[in-house]
């Protein structure tokens, strides 16, 4: 009895549609965001995450309308990220019905944004998304670096220190994506997930690489994640959220059934 581990389907949205790519490229259409959100809610999703991957700023407001639509029909927590640069962007998303806003590139360019946003709207609303990539080292110790701009740009920042810094600036949660694993369907980068989750006191959402239900279990039991995020295994109907919960429950993970 206690807090359940969360399963969070992720909807990558561009130009008003949900899409899924491999290693952040080759996008495939996966459907209408409101429709998909409703379906996941009915299946028992614990939260929903929307990432606005629209490249240009022209269609940015589309995500606000989508969130407004979803928030008036789906009564579970909604996280929205993508293109958030200013406290004002955070406010607009929260006013549209988001419960949490995730910041990624903007946090790297201006870490003060995390402090400003969390002091205005509360830490619980601020998720810092970290795109991590394994880098070569001369020792046996693994090292991961923070990447920005959808995984295209190296920053030289070490991931674990970055996660701790984000926590101290007021982040309420970390969404940790392995760029090496994303789209591979080979499972999470467990070593990365565990290293970050053990190094911070705030919840960590594992992301990137889920190809089957056992990967979700692995992320919780071996990666020490507080929540697991997945996209493609749910979008194309391979598995339902309820099957995922069932598998976790069979492995003695506490879930909301």
């Amino acid at each position: 009895m206690g807090l359940a581990k969360r399963i969070i389907p992720c909807l990558d949205v561009t130009n008003g549609r949900v899409v899924k790519g491999i290693n952040f490229v080759e996008l495939r259409d996966a459907g209408d965001p409101v429709e998909i959100a409703r379906r996941y809610n009915e299946q028992g999703a614990d939260e929903l995450t929307f990432l606005d991957i629209t490249a240009s700023s022209d269609n940015r407001d589309l995500i606000l309308h989508i969130i407004e639509d979803v928030a008036s029909q789906v009564f579970i927590p909604l996280t929205v990220g993508g293109g958030v640069r200013k406290v004002e962007d955070v406010r607009r998303l929260l006013n549209a019905g988001a419960d949490k806003v995730s910041v990624n590139t903007a946090a790297v360019l201006n870490p003060q944004l995390v402090a400003d946003a969390s002091s205005h709207v509360g830490s619980q609303c601020i998720v810092v998304a970290i795109d991590a990539k394994r880098v070569e080292t001369k020792t046996d110790e693994p090292r991961w670096e923070v990447f920005t701009h959808g995984g295209r740009k190296a920053t030289g920042i070490e991931v674990i220190q970055w996660a701790q810094k984000m926590q101290s600036l007021g982040a309420g949660e970390i969404l940790l994506t392995s760029m090496d694993k994303d789209g591979t369907r080979n499972g999470f980068d467990i070593e990365l997930t565990r290293a970050v989750s053990d190094a911070v006191d705030i919840p960590v959402i594992a992301s990137g690489g889920v190809g089957n239900l056992d990967h979700l279990v692995d992320g919780i039991l071996n990666g020490h994640a507080d929540a697991v995020l997945a996209a493609s295994i749910f979008h194309y109907g391979e598995y339902t959220i309820s099957q995922a919960k069932q598998r976790m429950a069979e492995n003695e993970i506490e879930v909301r059934l």
Binding site: M1, G2, R6, P77, N95, G97, D99, Q124, C125
Partner: protein
Amino acid sequence: MTDIAIVDYGMGNLRSVHKALEHVLPEHTIVVTSDPHVVNRADRVVVPGQGAMPNCMHELNRLGLHDAVVDAARKKPFLGICIGLQMLFEASEEGHVNCLNILPGKVKRFPPQSMVTTDGQKLKVPHMGWNQIAHTLEHPILKNIDSNTRFYFVHSYYVDTADTAIVAAQSHYGFPFTCAVAKDNLFAVQFHPEKSHLAGLTLLRNFAEWTP
């Protein structure tokens, strides 16, 4: 005449509370308001809220809503959510501020030394996600909600009260803590019914039908 006033003091996402109430009560007039007169005239009052307690108390005073909220909490069907629960107590460790002092007890931070499970796993703060609530009172607002149903929580501070008579439900996170209180016309919860899917919507409907 307003059926339900949702008090807006500039803290947090009131839209979701509004939408959830509208969803379960399509016939009711539900307004989000910063106007103390509207709060005074409403049949029922909901005080939601997120964010830091010092800012919340400051904004409540600045907007002239303090007295209207205290009055509502003493006289009419009142539902506090999250910060709307915490502010009813004497004081909060968050920024060391005095609160509304309507109920006895203090608001404390989850202490780091207690945040570990029996098998040695670290418990993260904020307490974020779906946890079970165990009823300690039979109350009309918990009608059709089984004990141990899961609700969505997100908070780093909890209410610690010695007055066990007002505790309506408890949850467990490192230790048992109060997650719902009830006294006369007042009911307040630490979790977010507006984000707790069917169980949360049931609770909101129960509130609208409640005659204390």
